[in-house]
């Protein structure tokens, strides 16, 4: 095993050296890592922007940024977090790296298309930056609602075009994954032997594929309206601005499942491994992933209760929203049931996964407050909503991203990190998270609207208090990331299977060789069968 060269040492295609062996690579692992670093860059940038927003909000009145700049800042924060971080984060980084490995193959089906997606992703990011320096970044919020997005003087067209390009990148990734899963699985691997992370990516990919074009055309229409002025959303010319919202959420609601499904997949991998116990309800989890993907496309208008759409629509979409909550709850139930009576081994990935379950549950349950039309009309567009989606997106997908980083880091880079610092970072992050967003729930219930740089005196205490939470949270994030990054300076020390995982990626050295496996991996009849692992670990008493 020692002599195997890792993919770091074997460029693919072999003729490229140095930086070109990365920029022109078709190796899914290298592309995954390129995504990792570009996504981390955007994430950390947007985290700092979030910190700036919070700093402004800590004190009443104009603290240090003007209302205009504030509007651009939260838009930039939202656009980066949504389009450049949370949508691509798990599929593009971990999906790229581990999906082929989990199904026992050596690459994705369309390797060149995969590289193209990365370039589109980068292009989208650069276009977003460009829009910063010409006429100012949009002040519309990440939703680009008409009529404001058509009439504001800021540079909406460029930013919208950036989102359009990023959409194509995401669509192509989905296309690639579906084809890969259908055509390149190891022969022995039937549909019910596919690991749950890959299953969740399969469901996600369908959503990416079918929902993204809707937003592509919607964003194109915004650009067309700005340049040509057809009037399709302009009431004075017969257009209907609410239709923009319909089209926008037809994508963007399914998009929240693009964000969360892979996260749920990660958690479904981590929980059984560290409980040494087969996952509870494998088939129920698979079915709920597909159910979320399908039912998730039926509920988009629950973002529009106050838009002026018909009462019938409010009733129907509210009802359906409650139905969609069921499959998510099934998963939470399965994870908790898996932990029950397992022999739990606490590690940073498990710790983050447990935080995920808690935070995501809070996010999901407050989502029901928003899904119920009666309560939503009261808290719509308040900080309650902001707190809710941070709990789901950040507490959910964001934590899943960190959990995945800590779970697969040894596999990707062949190096183990320091547990203690990881724990401290995670605790700071989670504690700070609670202190930052729980006050926002309360402020929202008290009626503080979102997207304003200033507020009435009665909201001062909560906003001030939340600032400390944000500080802890940001310190925690940087501590965790730095703790991981410094491992790159030490020699490779990680074992092939440091955790006792059962999925195929653990059957190969860390980091894996170019073609992923040294010997043909053997597919278990049931992907989460831990009898072998338990036997191996009980021989050497200290699980290391």
């Amino acid at each position: 095993m020692e002599t195997v060269k890792s993919f770091f040492e074997t460029p693919s295609p072999a003729r490229f050296k140095g930086i070109w062996s990365w920029l022109l690579t078709t190796d899914h692992k290298r592309i995954g890592l390129m995504y990792l670093f570009s996504i981390l860059f955007w994430f950390l940038l947007a985290v700092l922007l979030g910190g700036v927003i919070r700093l402004e909000l800590m004190f009443q009145g104009e603290t240090f940024i003007s209302a205009e700049v504030y509007n651009s800042l939260f838009t930039l924060h939202g656009v980066i977090m949504i389009f450049l971080f949370i949508i691509p984060a798990l599929p593009a980084v971990f999906g790229n790296f581990f999906l082929p490995m989990q199904i026992g193959t050596d690459d994705v089906f369309f390797p060149k298309l995969n590289l193209l997606s990365w370039y589109l992703y980068m292009a989208g990011g650069i276009i977003a930056i460009i829009s910063l320096f010409s006429d100012g970044f949009p002040d519309t919020g990440w939703t680009f609602y008409v009529p404001f997005s058509i009439s504001t003087h800021t540079n909406v067209s460029t930013a919208v075009f950036a989102a359009f390009v990023l959409g194509i990148a995401s669509m192509l990734t989905g296309l690639n994954f579906i084809t890969t899963i259908h055509r390149m699985r190891k022969k022995q691997m039937g549909w019910m032997q596919i690991p749950l992370f890959t299953w969740s990516l399969y469901a996600t990919s369908w959503v990416q594929l079918l929902a993204t074009p809707v937003v592509s055309i919607t964003l194109l229409l915004v650009i067309i309206e700005r340049y040509v002025g057809v009037g399709l959303f302009d009431p004075s010319r017969g257009g209907d601005p609410i239709l923009y919202q319909h089209l926008f959420w037809m994508y963007s609601h399914p998009a929240v499942y693009i964000m969360i499904l892979p996260g749920m997949g990660v958690i479904s991998e981590i929980i059984p491994v560290f409980s040494r116990k087969s996952i509870f309800g494998y088939k129920a989890i698979v079915a709920s992933s597909m159910a979320i993907a399908i039912a998730g496309s039926l509920v988009w208008a629950h973002h529009m209760y106050t838009s002026g759409m018909s009462d019938t629509a409010i009733f129907v979409f509210s009802l359906l929203t409650f139905v969609v909550a069921i499959p998510s709850a099934i998963k939470v139930f399965s994870w908790v049931a898996t932990l029950y009576k397992g022999s739990i081994q606490m590690t940073p990935p498990l710790f983050l996964a447990l935080c995920f379950i808690y935070l995501f549950s809070v996010g999901g349950l407050t989502g029901l407050v928003l899904g119920a039309a009666g309560t939503d009309i009261y808290v719509h567009d308040t900080h309650f909503v902001v707190a809710h989606f941070h709990f789901t997106m950040f507490g959910g997908t964001g934590f899943a991203f960190f959990a995945a980083l800590h779970y697969w880091w040894p596999k990707m880079f062949g190096r183990m990190y320091d547990f203690k610092k990881a724990y401290i970072g995670a605790i700071l992050l989670t504690g700070g998270f609670m202190f930052h967003y729980v006050p926002m729930f309360i402020l929202g219930l008290q009626g503080m609207p979102r997207r304003y740089f200033d507020y009435l005196p009665q909201y001062a205490k909560g906003n001030f208090f939340a600032g400390f939470g944000a500080a802890f949270m940001i310190i925690g994030i940087f501590l965790m990331v730095i703790n991981l990054l410094i491992t790159l300076r030490k020699p490779m020390d990680a074992k092939a299977d440091p955790w006792g995982g059962t999925t195929l990626e653990w059957q190969t050295p860390s980091p894996p060789p170019l073609h992923n496996f040294v010997t043909e991996p053997c597919v278990l009849d049931y992907p989460y069968d831990f009898t072998g692992v338990v036997k191996k670990y009980s021989k050497n008493t200290k699980g290391e």
């Binding site: 084809t179 055509r183 079918l210 074009p213 057809v230 009037g231 239709l243 089209l247 037809m250």
Partner: protein
């Protein structure tokens, strides 16, 4: 484990891409459906302004092109290279004629003062503004797809000619054909929605 020989995988990938195209146009059809119901009489008035003849001719042209492209794919599999080249070339030619027609149709409309943001539309009935707005957006987007499709057909034509596409490996031609048929398929719906609302 190599993917390079899996032709039906490539076809699956192409179909997945076609789905995205269907939904892309689907967004516009959502708008059409809503506005049609809201402004039925204006849409009918607008439809009368469009020249059915252009619509019919372009429909026939696209159907013929689809046929000849389909025939070309058959020809490739039957190793009839000449026939394949003829089929693809006919498809390309039809695409060109379609675009020329579109050009005349659009310029005729623009000359008579009907184009987005024109005085006639802005001051006229709002329903007609929406009708022609959608007309320009949808046929414009469709026209772009015709151009992309022609590019694909052209590449296939060259590869058939140089022998890169053979009866053993023809997924590039097959997928270009699929794309072309999809563009035709979308036109099949555009045609009645704009030219036949009488």
């Amino acid at each position: 484990m190599s993917s390079h020989s899996d032709e039906s995988g490539k076809k699956l990938g192409m179909w997945l891409f076609l789905y995205t195209e269907i939904i892309l146009f689907g967004g516009l059809f959502v708008l059409y459906a809503v506005y049609f119901v809201r402004y039925a009489s204006d849409f009918i008035e607008g439809g009368k302004e469009l020249n059915i003849l252009f619509g019919v001719v372009n429909t026939i042209i696209l159907l013929i092109s689809s046929f000849s492209v389909a025939a070309a794919i058959t020809a490739i599999q039957k190793k009839e290279k000449k026939m394949a080249v003829t089929g693809l070339a006919t498809g390309l030619l039809c695409g060109l004629v379609f675009l020329v027609n579109k050009y005349f149709e659009w310029s005729h409309k623009i000359d008579s003062g009907i184009f987005p943001n024109s005085e006639k539309l802005v001051d006229g009935p709002v329903g007609q503004n929406i009708f022609f707005g959608l007309y320009y957006v949808i046929t414009g987007l469709h026209g772009i797809h015709i151009i992309i499709g022609m590019a694909l057909l052209f590449i296939s034509l060259v590869f058939v000619q140089t022998g890169k596409i053979t009866h053993e490996r023809f997924s590039l031609a097959e997928n270009s054909g699929l794309y072309w048929h999809l563009v035709d398929l979308i036109w099949i719906f555009i045609f009645p929605l704009f030219y036949l609302v009488i």
